[in-house]
Symmetry: C2
Subunit: 242 residues, 2 copies
DNA sequence: TGACATATTCGCGTTACGCATATAAGTAAA
DNA sequence: TTTACTTATATGCGTAACGCGAATATGTCA
């Protein structure tokens, strides 16, 4: 490799003298669809890896922060606004892209059901359930979608991170509308974890956390006893760090 | 900003046509020193920010992965090998460096006491205790060291991440030699969390985890009953994801 | 009015943990 | 040799969290 001097960051180093990696952001768009954790993917039409499925992404512009680049990709490539966005991890293997050296900062984007449907209707993305380990993207026809580059590793890390955080953070609420039932919240947890949970224990735990505020309203369109609607209150504890 | 076409990642995009950010790695080197969580910092001799203290870092070469770049900086700038290294977070605010656009991938590096001392002896770095919120770097003379760029934010995130993970991951052992007493392990936890812990409860918790293997050996050089030495066994549960 | 489905609550056994206290095992000095 | 001292290690108990089965509540619909 090029010999980078010890005081590279200490003064008069000229980075233009060295070949520079490109930097992109990639979005892992996740939502709950039909009770399963699902991801939104774009089909690559051009080489490299034409025909494979990839995370929506884009280059980071010179005058744009990483968060801003992620928000721009969400808006321009997926057609969504206001989803929960948080940085996930950076991937920088030398050969992760065969054409050129690209370092990507992956972001987690959590969508409500209506946002998933809107994105699919907009036609840029397809939806696939995440199953197995490592996480495979299973299409509507139950066939796995072939993924481009290292995007399966990114998807797997995203799912595992979500699983690790769902139960002490407020991430679950990013999948839900402002008003939701405890059953809907439990459905989110179960879809993310891929395992059923005990209902009374889940209720107690969520209510004891003190985050939920009862609205007094009840769901309608139920052919049985309607459940109470809750909102996420402002008194959230600081989430544990990552 | 430059208008980056929608199919930037889909084919014939020429990234050389656009100005590209530089990419560095920065290392948050942490160790336990005199019972306090401490960081290793380098004094900047050249502008920008000459005289301030900074994380050791370096540019990512075109043919070098992020992890490899972090290991290289650890070796070349700090003079250490074999520390626990893990990626922390990427920082990409446009103005984080006044001279040029630099995106940095921050790494957490955990050192044993002897490694801290070796690095300090090598003379490239100084050691400072981390205290307060946001984390301030307190020098030997109890005066806070002025930090360069956004490095205080990076240090704070590193410390908070460590606090969040210490209790369900095996990170604590990276601060300890291969054989250690339960008291030493508790000292690590207390230094990281900045709070005393209940001794019997801590013992029980650690032993019930099943990670520790008793060696039958005892510490020496104690002027009282010597404690048993343990090692970290192979049967660790998969750590929770971040 | 009664069957049905789901929401919501209750009670109980188990486990994790904070905490005070006891016991064990070294060193060092009387 | 004994005793004080210090820290390691073990034990007992009260409390809080939680899994789980079962009971009760409240809607819709025939």
């Amino acid at each position: 490799m090029a010999d980078i001097s010890d005081d590279a960051l200490l003064g008069d180093y000229d980075p233009a003298a060295y070949a520079r990696p490109s930097v992109t952001v990639d979005l892992v768009l996740l939502g709950i669809r039909r009770g399963r954790l699902s991801a939104l993917l774009m089909r690559r039409e051009q080489p490299p890896q034409a025909g494979r499925w990839a995370l929506p992404g884009g280059f980071v512009a010179i005058d744009e922060s990483l968060d801003a680049a992620a928000a721009r990709v969400l808006r321009d490539k997926v057609g969504l606004d206001g989803a929960h966005l948080e940085q996930l991890y950076s991937f920088g293997a030398v050969d992760r892209n065969p054409r050129m050296r690209i370092i990507t900062i992956a972001y987690l984007a959590l969508l409500r059901e209506e946002q998933v449907e809107a994105a699919v209707r907009a036609g840029q993305v397809a939806v696939a359930a995440l199953e197995g380990d490592p996480a495979a993207a299973i299409g509507e026809d139950r066939a796995p979608l072939p993924l481009a580059f290292d995007h399966q590793a990114i998807l797997t890390l995203a799912r595992d991170r979500l699983r690790g955080k769902i139960d002490y953070s407020d991430l679950a609420f990013a999948f839900l509308p402002p008003r939701f039932t405890l059953r809907a919240l439990q459905d989110v947890h179960e879809a993310v974890l891929g395992t059923p949970l005990n209902k009374p224990a889940f209720r107690r735990r969520m209510l004891d956390r003190g985050w939920l505020v009862a609205t007094g309203l009840r769901e309608d369109e139920a052919s049985h006893r309607p459940a109470e609607l809750f909102t996420l209150g402002g008194a959230r504890r600081p989430a544990r760090s990552q």
